[in-house]
């Protein structure tokens, strides 16, 4: 595959493992073992059987007729919202818990923004009876209280990250510190395609089930092998990478990654990394990140707790640089409107993260026969309060 990682862990100019020596043995262990473990027959069969019977995969590819009518194209929704735990995050969590188990780890740590990855991690830890600690920004804990309660109910310990902006990047810092302090018995389940190599690759592979299924399902639906467009929202970028993965080498397919513009790109309250960011190093990889002139990480903002991350995964940075995918952005208000529209046209309340991808349909021009696949990465239950506040229901 043309756009995947090389042996040194780089996607073009991006990637690598910029980690303190304290983490080197852990990362090296993963690098040396993850391919062998994940290619092993027993791993594959357990992974596939859990995805089928526990997660409920394959998730449907749903032709949204009323939405299609509105935009003048065939719009298919990849229903990751129907997965157990309500988002795509469970795909990666299942993969990594099986990996951690085979590495003999006794304790799991994770970071979470919207709480979906935290819930997915707490879920798989309960499934396997492994201790679970989730770091979550203090601000996000308030925004996503139902998910905090879920994690606790699942037996996880939720630790607030109180430094910096008290959101996802700070939760990631805290999780990395925990891992540095507990290198031997702990596995860190990173929830997105970010972090030092091999994480971006590993997470992308676990999430690639999304596009693997979608390809087959599109053929069943339409008799066509490829869609014209594939859309997904991007914070760190795991649902987008999963959605793009098996289309990367199909150059005719236009890949569109939708970032959160927050209150607007130029307002100082945004998370549109591809526009506002520059090349640099964040959380262990060389990527594109929002930073000051002298390399301090800028606090991102988005109404959706899952998108306010100051960087994008290194593979996304590469796809952006070589222009294999188009990176665009959508404001809070546009996303909320799109969430409402999807609810009322299709009876599906999306996560505000996913709503960003839907909002971009407004800005596209289609031919009537175009097939468009959008990743509906999560359901909107966790965001009801935000919707209620905005629309005054």
């Amino acid at each position: 595959m043309k756009y995947t990682v090389n042996e040194q862990g780089y996607y073009g100019d991006f990637g690598g493992a910029y980690i303190p020596e304290m983490l080197y043995p852990n990362i090296e262990e993963l690098r040396q073992q993850y391919q062998a473990i994940t290619n092993d027959t027993s791993f594959r069969s357990e992974f596939e059987s859990l995805l089928k019977d526990y997660v409920g995969r394959p998730s449907p590819l749903y032709l949204a007729k009323r939405l299609s009518e509105k935009y003048g194209a065939n719009i298919f929704l990849k229903r990751e919202d129907l997965n157990h735990t309500g988002s795509h995050k469970i795909n990666n969590a299942i993969g990594q818990i099986l990996l951690a188990e085979r590495l003999g780890k006794k304790r799991i740590i994770a970071e979470t923004g919207a709480g979906q990855h935290g819930v997915a991690t707490a879920t798989v830890c309960a499934l396997k009876g492994i201790e679970c600690v989730v770091y979550m920004g203090e601000v996000d804990m308030e925004r996503q209280a139902p998910n905090v309660a879920r994690m606790k109910m699942l037996g996880a310990k939720v630790i607030p990250a109180t430094s910096g902006s008290k959101t996802l990047k700070d939760a990631t810092n805290e999780a990395m510190r925990d891992w540095i302090n507990n290198p031997l018995d702990t596995h860190y389940i990173i929830g997105s395609v970010v972090g030092p190599y091999p994480y971006p690759e590993m997470v992308a592979r676990f999430q690639s089930i999304i596009s693997l299924e979608a390809k087959k399902q599109l053929l069943e639906h339409t008799g066509k092998f490829l869609p014209e467009y594939v859309l997904a929202c991007v914070g760190g970028g795991s649902n987008a990478m999963g959605m793009f993965y098996h289309f990367l080498d199909d150059e005719s397919v236009k890949l569109i990654a939708v970032e959160a513009a927050g209150k607007g790109i130029d307002t100082g309250h945004s998370a549109a990394t591809s526009v506002l960011g520059r090349e640099g190093i964040l959380h262990g990889s060389r990527t594109i990140l929002m930073q000051t002139e002298d390399g301090q990480v800028v606090e991102p903002y988005s109404i959706s707790a899952g998108l306010d991350y100051p960087g994008i995964g290194p593979q996304h940075a590469h796809l952006h640089k070589v222009q294999r995918a188009q990176y665009v952005s959508i404001t809070d208000d546009e996303a909320l409107d799109a969430g409402l529209l999807l609810s009322q046209l299709e009876g599906i309340i999306p996560a505000i993260e996913s709503a960003h991808a839907f909002a971009y349909l407004e800005k596209m021009q289609f031919q009537k026969e175009d097939n468009v696949i959008i990743c509906l990465s999560g359901r909107g239950d966790k965001d009801l309060n935000t919707y209620i506040k905005h629309f005054g229901f």
Partner: protein
């Protein structure tokens, strides 16, 4: 062939083999413009070499003490431009070796070549960048560091494999930074049989470079333990905490004495 550097660091290790003391502090903390005052105070108090931290917003290898000092320093306006401006007079006021310590991103944004040139120009002897991997250093930066006669200091932890330690020894040209444990900064040294056997293991490897132990060195007992196994010890968070006290400049000699001598 490694470039043979003859900078202040090498000279220091040639002259003094044991009980070296290094102190870390964050540039711009607790006040923006006291960097050289603190450096000078430490030298006068008998510290052998210094580590000046250039602050970063997301220091994942550091604990709350150094993160807090970094944030305060950034809030006061510290950055690499300001720091190099402050260090212009470094060599008029300070004779002991000086290292800069910080994270890769600020250095990369400043431009590694420009960073090394500036550091050399003001009389800095070496750099410690915990999140700069060996592979990238070798591929991209080794020649730049050598050109400017700057040492790059690598870290070693109890989990670092022997073959990697040998490789680090080969790539190093002043000293190796031994972490007392695999942990973030600011956690106190838990001396145990495991820690001692790790120190002993490194000592028995008879590395070509001197070793200095850091992370968790907060008092005389820890300093004594560290210097029994290595050429020196580094105090970081404990000194940064001390800087929050009143009249800290006047009290630096007391602090240094508390590390070097047993409490009477």
């Amino acid at each position: 062939m490694e470039t043979v550097l003859a900078n202040r660091l090498n000279h220091m290790f040639d002259v003094k083999k044991n009980n070296l003391l290094s102190v870390y502090f964050t540039a711009g903390y607790p006040e923006l413009n006291t960097t050289l005052d603190i450096a000078e105070g430490l030298e006068k108090a008998g510290v052998d070499f210094l580590e000046i931290g250039f602050p970063y917003s997301d220091p994942v290898a550091d604990g709350p003490t150094i993160q807090h000092s970094s944030q305060q320093a950034l809030d006061k306006g510290m950055n690499l431009n300001v720091l190099f401006e402050q260090l212009k007079d470094l060599r008029q006021r300070v004779n002991i070796p000086v290292l800069l310590m910080g994270y890769a991103n600020p250095m990369v944004q400043y431009g590694v070549e420009r960073f090394c040139a500036k550091a050399a120009e003001v009389g800095v002897d070496g750099v410690i960048v915990p999140d700069l991997p060996m592979y990238e250093y070798e591929q991209l930066y080794k020649n730049i560091f050598a050109k400017h006669n700057l040492s790059n200091i690598f870290l070693v932890t109890p989990q670092t494999a022997e073959s990697r330690i040998r490789k680090i020894d080969e790539l190093s040209n002043s000293f190796i930074y031994l972490l007392s444990s695999a942990s973030i900064t600011g956690r106190s040294l838990q001396v145990s049989d495991t820690v001692e056997s790790y120190f002993q293991r490194i000592k028995d490897m008879q590395l070509k470079n001197p070793t200095v132990i850091g992370f968790g060195i907060a008092d005389h007992a820890a300093y004594q333990k560290a210097t029994a196994y290595a050429n020196g010890a580094i105090v970081g968070s404990a000194f940064v905490k001390f800087l929050a006290t009143e009249n800290y400049l006047e009290k630096i000699p007391e602090f240094v004495k508390s590390i070097k001598s047993p409490v009477v």
